[in-house]
Subunit: 207 residues, 2 copies
Amino acid sequence: MSRPPGFDKTRVLEQVERQFRKSGYSGTSLDDLCAVTRLGRGSLYAAFGDKHNLFLQALDGYCRRSEAILLAALDGPDDEALDRLRSFLTSAAHIVFSDSDGLGCMAGKFAVELAGQDDAVALRIKRNLSLIQDALVACIVAAQRNGDLDLAAPARDIASLFMTVARGIDVLTQAGAEIADMEGAADRAFAILPLTEAARRRLTVPA
Amino acid sequence: MSRPPGFDKTRVLEQVERQFRKSGYSGTSLDDLCAVTRLGRGSLYAAFGDKHNLFLQALDGYCRRSEAILLAALDGPDDEALDRLRSFLTSAAHIVFSDSDGLGCMAGKFAVELAGQDDAVALRIKRNLSLIQDALVACIVAAQRNGDLDLAAPARDIASLFMTVARGIDVLTQAGAEIADMEGAADRAFAILPLTEAARRRLTVPA
DNA sequence: GAGATTCTGGACTGATCTGTCAAGAATGTT
DNA sequence: AACATTCTTGACAGATCAGTCCAGAATCTC
């Protein structure tokens, strides 16, 4: 019936996403996007619409990925919930460094650049952060169910703290902070958890 | 000898700073800057150089201001050091909301937008954050001297945590977080301090 | 293999961008 | 009051921007 597109939409969106994350929204031109995707303007416009629409789709792709990864990383059996909370913080400290291009969290980046002026962007980012925060709360509650955390611990506030620490580590890393300092911050954040005696013993003498 | 400039350099830099903080570096045009300063292009270029130079001077003005304010807020007698630490966190949670235009921290914003590509910007921001972190360390040490904090508390790590929390609150607020959540995060961060018995009594029964 | 359909690339348009420049206005000095 | 100097404004140039469009290439169906 017709000629099929000669490119993979998902792959193109990832290249677009990388470019936006590197140069920002205003700092990225359509020529830049054509260069990294090796596509002509016509193909991009036909497949994704204008620049703003293209950005939204790239942002959505990032959000879906990060949600899938983090929700999976925070989900699991109750007796490992505490470990998952620790991993959440330490990986926040490491992921920006390990990322070969030093790109930070896309949601955080565009919360700062665009959320104040672009409702569609703000909405998507807010949903992304809410989902992650909810998963954190669930994980904290799981650790409580397992008897690792004091039942009086305010799960939502702790989740908020962890969210701020993750975003803050991201920003400070962009600003050239030392990885040791970020690890220190992550450790201190974990130390805020009101561990029960049982959990404390288990952690100091792991397996 | 000659005609004096008809504008106040400091005032113009503040108007420029506001515009950059609102729209970002790439998102701000010289026409925007001429509009907010009510100056012609020639005047701006003669007084401040090109766009990049103008931005650097506006950023420096912001950094100087924030350094003066925060270093003063963290400096004082040892017996109030703990209160100053608490104020640092709670004001981080409130300042973005109280700011009439909802502009966040300029250092954080441009750490995210520019630090990866602009060494001059990165350097200035890094110095800004280092100065504040050092002041936090000094304040923690002061609280230890006063017998409010456990002497074994890792001052530098705690300062790193507070820095990440402050930056994180800023980002999440831009993303539309509730102020109650940010207050919760600030409270939890404060709760990480290993208070001595004396300090705990003093806080629960203040004055 | 012919034809219909869609994809692709790049030229093009009009708007906007940064930075320059010169003419005129305003001020201090003599 | 006249002059020298500096400031100010807005027009201008060259580059770049987002978005449109069309001619030609590629593919599928029959």
